[in-house]
Subunit: 413 residues, 2 copies
């Protein structure tokens, strides 16, 4: 047993985040997080890719950056340039792409290149928790723009930009997840994308486009990326392989003009992201990506249906949601009586993990009774049981769903 | 051709580092950097490991952190606990280890957990450039302690600690690379390690022990880590697989008590380091590490001899250096007339990259005529030719080595 008499406490700087808790394993029914479907990890394909690429180029692991330099493994950047052209309408070359350690490092690099404490950014009102916690730690003011079924509302954005301008505040960027928005699952329509670009240029505020879920659309019909239709170059585009292949690989990318890419590259002082993962992804994706993704999304769609059925069965009309067009999450509104921040610990004690709405929103009042449920990772059986347990906990704690609600919805279904 | 009329310049925060230059390929004779020997990447072993571990556990790539939680792949932490016991005398469990994206992320996490702008730290006078540039960017004052053939000088450290105390400055840590010091190649003897611990406890200043080269000792006789002999727990220990297996994998680790590990884990907001690399390393290293490393170090020793011979041949007595006990670099003193910061661009123009001494030291006067040469990555032929070209450039620019020096040394050899 190691004695630890040395006291580090007086040495810690102010504003350090709270220490992490010891990890004690996953909850039994984990309906949170960006985890993917284990049945759709292309294990055989990755094994074959690893063997082929290591056999051919394994010696290059002796060199930081392989033979590709600091922007990352060139064949993966070349695959991405072709894929982004085909799927998102983006015209770029491998030279416009920086490979990073997951889209979280992309967020860190964009933030480091543009933000200083006290700055203001515009985000979607309901948005990715990881973006919000980063902005809070950096001391950034966030202005949240409401969404509807077509994504960020441009009337509200125009009003916010005008209001900020009156107050002499120039926001540093407009952060959007336009394609399968997290957590609402909406896809911004093309009219709004054009209007967003117009407003961005009018006010001189760049767009930070996070397209990391854009591969996961049920009908495969992805609109052109905002980056693709920008004429001014005022867009930074990021994406990831976490959702399309596997999150634990930690490979994402940034597409930007050299003016900003050179700034972010200077801030990326990690001597490169993991090379083996880049190599294996390039080798696997070049021949297999376009056949892999539709199989994956069919599986995800089927799990989403299980989740929606389970919610209808156990919550009835008490759970309101729109059927999303893709993705791995469902944004659910419970009755106003329910506080999901309070539901969270009770549910966890019963073995069910949920994402409470206020952690995914700039507006805790709006998000008070909302929660994000993620359906990619749990099995269908776990989804059904998890939702049943969640409904029981919610009923005990908040009196909803009333039992009658089930009957109403099931009768009408 | 993409027009980029959008001007990001007014949005950039103050104190942003200069933009990166476009990468234009490696110099012909690259005698710099932490790159390893491509002939000693265990390609076959890594292929077999990738197949075995993916076949068995590939589905877990669908989950952030695999089934191991946020500290990293558990079998790799278990391998490390056993290895650190065997090689470094460290008693710890997998729970005391945090896997990170190379030792650079370890530096970032230790710094983030302990440092605030204006703080002071103690470092070895000649030390790792990546540590110095990080400290400079964070606005930290560094106090450099001279080294001799046995590592950091404890008389100088005691004097520096007393002096700082008189000025009411408590340094946040003492950073040391005790085992195959970068760039001097020295190994701190055990008496000094004990004295360092005593001073650390007397002044309440923790030790930050960077042992990332410690596997690469020619005779394999590694002294117990400082972490191993600390009774107070005031040591943070970091290491890496970059030097023992391959740098492009980007896998390092931190060993620390939970008080500090929980702080660093809270700051590691990257959703885990690359899992495939952790899996493949664990699978490969558990059976093969102890046979791989001696073969690697034999190869490195042989390249070092080529480098020393080439320096003797082309620089003669003008190049002074100690024969290091391990590692991948040689710290070379040239005559006082030579400024290595000026030699650097001329040499690069001739196709030879060197590390100029002042980038690896807190004392630019002391390091003015010194340079770091790295011998692991270039072939023996490249080492020989690179040193010959370097000597030519140096002679043209600074008048040394004089031709006579060669003859003297060769006659005496």
């Amino acid at each position: 047993m190691r004695s630890t008499s040395f006291d580090f406490t007086p040495l810690l700087p102010a504003e350090l985040p709270a220490p992490a808790a010891k990890w004690t394993g996953s909850p039994r029914y984990n309906i949170t997080g960006g985890n993917n479907d284990p049945d759709h990890v292309p294990v055989d394909g990755l094994i074959a890719a690893a063997e082929a690429v290591l056999r051919r180029e394994g010696r290059s692991l002796a060199t930081y950056g392989l033979a590709s330099g600091p922007q990352g493994y060139r064949p993966l950047r070349e695959f991405l340039a072709a894929k982004l052209k085909r799927d998102a309408g983006i015209t770029c070359t491998f030279d416009d792409i920086l490979l990073v350690s997951g889209s979280l490092q992309a967020l860190d690099l964009v933030n480091a290149a543009l933000l200083a404490r006290g700055d203001t950014v515009i985000v979607e009102r309901d948005t990715y928790q990881g973006a919000l916690t980063r902005l809070a730690r950096l001391g950034i003011n966030t202005v949240g723009i409401p969404l509807d079924g077509e994504g960020m509302r441009m009337d509200a954005l125009a009003a916010a930009l005008a209001d900020l301008k009156r107050r002499a505040i120039r926001p540093k960027y407009i952060y959007t997840i336009p394609t399968v928005q997290n957590p609402t699952g909406t896809i911004m329509n093309e009219t709004r994308r054009a209007e967003l670009l117009r407003l961005s240029e009018q006010y001189g505020v760049p767009i930070f486009e996070d397209d990391c879920y854009a591969d996961l659309i049920w009908d495969g019909r992805r609109p052109p990326a905002i980056y693709a239709t920008s004429k001014s170059g005022g867009v930074i585009h990021i994406g990831s392989f976490s959702k399309s292949i596997a999150p634990a690989l930690r490979v994402g990318y940034i597409v930007a003009g050299w003016e900003m890419l050179s700034r972010m590259l200077a801030l990326k002082t990690d001597a490169g992201s993991g090379a083996l993962e880049q190599m294996v992804l390039a080798e696997y994706c070049a021949p297999h990506f376009t056949e892999h993704v539709p199989a994956l999304t069919r599986g995800l769609r089927s799990k989403l249906e299980t989740l929606m059925e389970a919610l209808n069965e156990h919550f009835g009309t008490a759970a309101e949601f729109d059927d999303p067009k893709g993705g791995i999450f469902l944004w659910v509104k419970l009755p106003d009586a329910v506080e999901t921040l309070k539901l969270f610990p009770s549910a966890l004690a019963a073995g069910v993990a949920i994402n409470p709405g206020p952690e995914w929103s700039t507006d805790p009042v709006h998000a008070r009774s909302r929660m994000r449920l993620c359906f990619a990772s749990p099995s269908k059986e776990e989804i059904r049981r998890g939702v049943a347990v969640l409904a029981e906990v919610c009923r005990k704690e908040f009196g909803v769903p009333a039992r009658i609600a089930n009957v109403e919805r099931r009768a009408g279904a």
